[in-house]
Amino acid sequence: MKKIVFILMIFVLGPFVVRGQTTINIKTALQGIVDNLEQLSRRLTGNEELKIRKAALKNVIDLATAESNDLKNKLIKLEGLEGDYLKLRDTLLKELGNHSNYYDSINSVLERETNLVKIKNLSTQLKDWRRIVYHPILQRIINFILVFEGRDVLQLAEIRFNNISSDLRKVSNLEIIKDSPLNNLLVKAEGSLNKARELQSASMLIILKSSNNDTQKLIEDELDKIRETYSYFVEMSDWLKKASKK
C-alpha cells in the first residue's frame, strides 16, 4: 500500500518537483559562484586557488545546465506553433542540446586537470564561448519565449473583450446603457487591444529574423497596452458596480 502511495506521489508531484528542482539548482549554482568569488578575493595558496577555481567553473557549468533545462522546458511548453515558428523552436532546442555537449566536454577536462594555468585558460575559453555563442542564442530564446507568452496573454485579453462586447450588445438598447460611459470605455479598450495586436504581429516577424533586442521592447510595450486594456475593463466594472448601488 505504501509503495502504491509513494509511486502515486511521484506521478502527481513529479512535475512540480522538477520545476522546483530547476529553481533550486539555479540558486544553488549562483550561491556557489558567489562563495567562490568571495574565497578567491582572499589571499590563497596555489593549491587553494586551483581548488576554488575548479569549483567556480563547475558551478558556472551547473548554472548553465540548470538555465538550459529551464529554457528547454519553457520552449517545449509553448503551444500552437506552426511552420517557421515550429522550425525555429526546434532549432533553438537543438542549440541548447549543443550547449549541453559543450558543457560535458568542459567538465571532462575540468575533472582531470590539475594545472592552475590550464584551469585559468579553460575559464577564459568558457568566458569567450559564452560571449560569442551563448549570449546571442540565449537572447534569441528569451525573445522567442516572450513573444509567445505575450501571444497567450493577448489571446486572453481578446476573449475577455469579446465577452464584454457581446454582453454590452445585449443590453445596448437600454437608455441607462446608452447614456453610460461603458461604450466609450469599450472603444478605448479596443484601441489599446488593437495596438497590442500590432505590436504582437511586429514581434512575431522580428523573431524569425534575428535576436534583435527591440523584440523585448515590443513585448514590454504590448504588455503595457494589454494592461491599459484591462484598466478600461476595470473602469467599466467599477462604473457598473456604482450605478447598480444607486
Binding site: 443590453v171 441607462i176 476595470v234 444607486k246
Partner: protein
C-alpha cells in the same frame, strides 16, 4: 425519396439551443471549479437562474415598452447579461496574466549571463571579485523563477 430524405435530415442542422440556456449553462459551467460538488445541485440552480433571468429580462422589456427605462435602476438588469464585467473575475484574470513574471525572468537571464561571464574573468582583483559577488547575490534575491 432517398434524396428528399437526406435533404430533410440535413435541415435538422437548423436545430439550435436557446440563447438563454446557452448563456446560463456556460456561466455555471465556467464558474464551477473542478473539485466542487456543484454537480449535485446544478439542476436546481440552472432552473432558478434561468427562471430569474427570464423574469428579469421580461421585466426590462415591459418597462422599455412603457417608456420608463430612463429611471430603471441597474439592478433591474439580469446579472448574467453583464457577467463578463464581474470585478472578481477581472481581478483574478489580471493577477493570473503573469505580465511581471515573464519580464522579470527575461531580466534575470540578461543579468545572469553578464554577471556570470564577468565572474570568469581571471584578471579580476579582489575588490572587483567582491563587487561581482555582490552583484550575483542581488540576482539571487531577485530571482523570480
Amino acid at each position: 425519396m432517398e434524396n428528399n430524405l437526406f435533404n430533410k435530415i440535413k435541415l435538422l442542422k437548423q436545430i439550435r439551443p436557446e440563447a438563454g440556456f446557452a448563456l446560463s449553462s456556460r456561466r455555471i459551467i465556467l464558474d464551477t471549479t473542478k473539485k466542487s460538488h456543484y454537480q449535485i445541485l446544478f439542476k436546481k440552480q440552472l432552473q432558478q437562474t434561468f427562471i430569474l433571468s427570464a423574469a428579469m429580462g421580461m421585466a426590462v422589456v415591459l418597462l422599455v415598452i412603457v417608456g420608463r427605462i430612463s429611471s430603471l435602476p441597474l439592478e433591474g438588469l439580469s446579472p448574467e447579461l453583464i457577467s463578463s464585467l464581474n470585478s472578481k473575475d477581472l481581478t483574478l484574470e489580471q493577477e493570473n496574466l503573469n505580465f511581471n513574471i515573464q519580464l522579470a525572468e527575461a531580466k534575470y537571464y540578461k543579468e545572469s549571463t553578464t554577471q556570470v561571464t564577468m565572474a570568469l574573468n581571471n584578471d579580476l582583483d579582489s575588490v572587483a571579485m567582491q563587487k561581482q559577488a555582490e552583484n550575483i547575490n542581488s540576482l539571487i534575491k531577485e530571482l523570480a523563477l
